[in-house]
């Protein structure tokens, strides 16, 4: 039986990193106990990012720019902050990623170890021959109360992993799982925020007892010991808990992987796998990597880096993601982006945002996948496709063939920064972008500051939240442009 493992892995972090000092200083009058946490940064999603859009971005990074994505037969999406309770969230991703309709899409949720659980499921599926190529994606964007420790501990981010039998950079060895109804925190239906129990109890009775038990189960199954582990991955917001568990399991404390606490924060369902991505960037052939997930029990997975790891070149490394983040010192912007303050939206923010679901379905490829048309007679590329081609003087009828825009580069033709129209992040930047192979779209620009763009500048497309219809709880998605 052939090996199963990871052939590619990629993380994604939003551009902004909120300064924790900014947060702790603003709240020091109210929460002096949190002043000590005011070091480093945490990743901060733009207002138009959610777990689905971040996961889409991570998956794009492992798929690359190829239009043919027919090799993906299964897509897992793990998150505790899925934008829809009842609408297949991984199905939204499939549409955005223009994966085949036959791709099985599976949402895994309700626990922070959903990422590791999804990975175990994908491995089982590929191992059993029920999938040739599965993608596991995980993301979280957890809302936190102002002046809470979670606000400083959490971060927003995503990761995607290709589970495969070929070109493996890390071979799967074994895994173990425990399901234990240990309620360290919970989020009931309709609740925005987690409710947390006392930290010392969570640490001592939860992490320090449950995780070592799962690890020891795995060691027995795999017939190894702690001294065989070269990289130990355990996300936790509690300081040194990873070191304590390593010690309990005879793992060299020096082999404990960095948990990105001071740069990114804990990205929830994504975090174990995000740390895994970071470890794989440095791992050497033959090294054993132990990944743990905690929440309602524990998942533990063991991988071994292959020779291919030497050639592993991610599109953007975690290290580079950390370096290219932009520090944000405006705490009010964070609160506004997350809608945790009541802010004045003006009359233009009152417009009814009902989405015509019939239209959304009729134009699903165009809206969700940014698929336009190419005239089979004139070669004219256009967005969106139309019954009669836009080609000047050649109004060909019914000649449009699907043409994917999302991975194509484009240049800004015209733009403006609009202070009048409603925007969560004014000024509202939008304009016309011309694609390098032809075609143009008037789009919103995102992830930019005033003065960042001009005509002629190169941009790429990203899948983002277009609007949130708060009256009906519907998130509308579309593509936007960001500078390359």
């Amino acid at each position: 039986m052939s090996d199963v493992g990871i052939s590619s892995i990629a993380g994604y972090l939003p551009r902004l990193r909120l300064s924790k000092k900014t947060v702790s200083s603003a709240n020091s009058w109210l929460a002096p106990n949190l002043v000590g946490k005011g070091k480093g940064t945490r990743s901060m999603a733009n207002w138009d990012e959610d777990s689905v859009t971040m996961a889409v971005e991570a998956v794009r990074r492992i798929l690359g720019g190829d239009d043919d994505r027919s090799h993906v037969d299964t897509l897992f999406f793990a998150s505790t902050t899925m934008p829809f309770v009842d609408r297949l969230n991984s199905g939204i991703m499939r549409a955005a990623l223009t994966l085949e309709e036959e791709t099985q899409c599976i949402d895994i949720s309700s626990t922070l170890k959903s990422g590791t659980s999804a990975l175990i499921q994908a491995i089982d599926k590929v191992k059993s021959g029920n999938s040739n190529y599965s993608i596991v994606s995980a993301a979280d964007k957890r809302k936190t109360r102002s002046a809470s420790s979670q606000e400083l501990d959490f971060g927003d981010g995503s990761v995607a992993i290709a589970v495969d039998t070929k070109n493996l950079i890390a071979k799967y060895i074994n895994s173990s799982s425990l399901s234990i109804d240990f309620v360290d925190h919970f989020r009931g239906p309709g609740e925005e925020f987690d409710y947390n129990w006392e930290e010392r109890w969570v640490r001592d009775e939860g992490y320090l007892k449950i995780v070592p038990k799962a690890i020891k189960d795995l060691f027995t199954k795999a017939n190894i010991s702690g001294s065989d582990i070269d990289h130990f991955i355990l996300p936790s917001v509690f300081p040194r808990v990873d070191q304590m568990i390593a010690k309990k399991c005879d793992i060299n404390p020096e082999n404990v992987a960095g948990n990105l606490a001071q740069s990114v924060g804990d990205t929830g369902s994504a975090h174990s796998l995000l740390m895994f991505a970071s470890v794989l960037e440095k791992a050497k052939p033959g090294e054993k990597i132990l990944i743990c997930g905690f929440g309602g029990g524990s998942d533990v997975l063991l991988f071994e880096a292959t020779d291919n790891i030497k050639n592993f070149k991610p599109q953007q490394t975690i290290e580079n993601l950390l370096e290219t983040g932009v520090e944000e010192n405006n705490y009010m912007k964070f609160l506004t982006f997350n809608d945790t303050v009541k802010w004045e939206r003006g009359m233009r923010g009152e417009q009814d945002r009902k989405t015509a679901l019939t239209t959304l379905y009729r134009h699903n490829d165009a809206i969700m996948g940014l698929v336009g048309g190419k005239c089979s007679k004139t070669g004219t590329i256009q967005y969106p496709a139309s019954p009669i081609s836009v080609s000047p003087n050649s109004p060909e009828l019914n000649t449009q063939e699907p043409y994917k825009f999302a991975e194509k580069k484009a240049k800004i033709l015209s733009w403006s920064a609009d202070y009048l129209s409603f925007s969560v992040n004014p000024p509202n930047h939008y304009g016309v972008v011309d694609f390098e192979e032809g075609g143009r779209i008037m789009v919103d620009f995102t992830d930019i500051e005033k003065g960042d763009i001009d005509s002629g500048m190169q941009v790429k497309m990203v899948f983002r939240v277009k609007i949130v219809d708060e009256q009906r709880g519907f998130t509308r998605y579309f593509w936007k442009a960001i500078p390359v």
Partner: protein, 400 residues
């Protein structure tokens, strides 16, 4: 081959309400104000009207849908009233309908009334509009200034104009319109402004500041048209006739095809060529006496000077700064203050432009009267640069 509209229809009378924040006036009040003036000017009775056209853009506020709001407000004698809507060019559409009815012989006398009551929306600018069910899902959630402002970035990139030079030129456009509007008692804004004020005004949509944007107003305007023969039989002389009426509508090319560079209005060039041909104008820079153009934003007016073939391409900045379009320039533009200062009650604007040309051609424009104008052009645009309708009308003395 169509013979065109030239000199087939004459203007019998026109009227225009005071534009502005007409807090006290209802849609009916505004319509009546323009109607009464037009009827007195024409010297006719309501039962002499054969057909009517009513232009009104935003039907969910103001007067509502259909032809009934006009028929009821004016107590018309159960004649045909057709409501037309074509974005901000709706007023010109109403005029076109009335003129074509007369030219076709279907009506002896027809009336066009345009009205908009914008100040009942609660918005400082235009209220957001719905564009069907697909566009909101794929188009940016922008505004009119944000859409028109994009002309500036594309124009600068194409012609190598610095941001400062363009900003100063469009500021001059607004300074000129304010100077003109100050002489117009019916204008919404009747105060002069300095270039410094314009340059330092709060930003609305880069690079358009507050003074680069037109007034959002309440108002109505009306035109009564007939054949030159009937006009003469009613005792009118020195007739003002329609020389050209053209409408060009985007077909998606600007929005979807890479051949448009974003710096000009494709439809304006198409409509202008046809209008000049219909009116027999071969050298517009020399032959057009004055213009009322759709200066919804200062940058719109600037690029329109090229699209109407008055300024050479790339030369509008220089012409504007040279004062070519000022009240004492070669081709005065917005002598009544334009959309900028007369105001922009959407459904009325096309007719308001014609009203000013009509007054000027008759020498009845009061303090802002130009000396001996013979040909007046109106340019009424609806939509946005990448997707619009452009209406151009040319009027002049019947024998000109």
């Amino acid at each position: 081959m169509a013979t065109g509209i030239r000199d087939k229809v004459a203007i019998l009378g026109m009227g225009c309400s005071k534009f502005g924040e007409r807090w006290d006036a209802s849609p009916e009040d505004l319509m009546v104000e323009s109607y009464v003036e037009a009827m007195e000017d024409a010297g006719i009775e309501p039962n002499q009207l054969d057909a009517a056209w009513f232009s009104h853009h935003i039907d969910d506020i103001g007067a509502g849908k259909g032809g009934t709001p006009m028929s009821i407000a004016l107590r018309l004698p159960n004649i045909a009233v057709t409501r037309v809507e074509n974005y901000c060019a709706s007023g010109s559409e109403a005029f076109r309908g009335a003129v074509y009815a007369v030219a076709a012989g279907a009506a002896d006398i027809a009336i066009a009334v345009g009205m908009e009551k914008l100040k009942d929306t609660g918005f400082g600018g235009l209220s957001p509009t719905n564009y069907g069910t697909l566009t909101p899902q794929i188009g940016p959630s922008g505004s009119a200034p944000g859409n028109f402002a994009q002309l500036a970035s594309a124009y600068r990139a194409k012609h190598g104009v610095s941001a400062e030079d363009l900003k100063r030129a469009i500021a001059h456009v607004s300074v000129k319109s304010h100077a003109n509007g100050a002489k117009n008692p019916k204008a919404h804004l009747q105060k002069e402004v300095t270039e410094e004020q314009v340059l330092n005004a709060p930003m609305i949509a880069e690079p358009l500041g507050l003074f680069d944007c037109c007034g959002v107003s309440d108002g109505a305007a009306a035109a009564i048209v007939t054949t030159p023969e009937i006009a003469k039989s009613l005792g009118k002389d020195n007739l003002i006739s329609v020389k050209a009426l053209q409408l060009a509508v985007s077909n998606g090319l600007e929005n979807q095809h890479n051949s448009w560079d974003g710096s000009y209005f494709h439809t304006v060039r198409v409509a202008a060529k046809k209008a000049y041909a219909e009116a027999g104008i071969t050298k517009p820079r020399e032959q057009v006496s004055m213009m009322e153009v759709h200066d919804c934003f200062s940058v719109t007016e600037l690029v329109t000077m090229e699209d109407l073939f008055i300024s050479d391409e790339g030369n509008a900045v220089k012409d504007v700064m040279d004062g070519f379009y000022d009240a004492d320039g070669k081709v005065p533009c917005q002598i009544d203050g334009g959309l900028k200062c007369f105001g922009h009650p959407i459904g009325a604007s096309g007719l308001r432009m014609l009203y000013e040309m009509y007054l000027q051609l008759q020498g009845k424009a009061g303090a802002r009267q130009l000396s001996n104008p013979s040909i007046g052009l109106t340019h009424n645009l609806g939509g946005q640069p990448a997707n619009n309708v452009c209406s151009i009308a040319i009027i002049g003395a019947l024998d000109a």
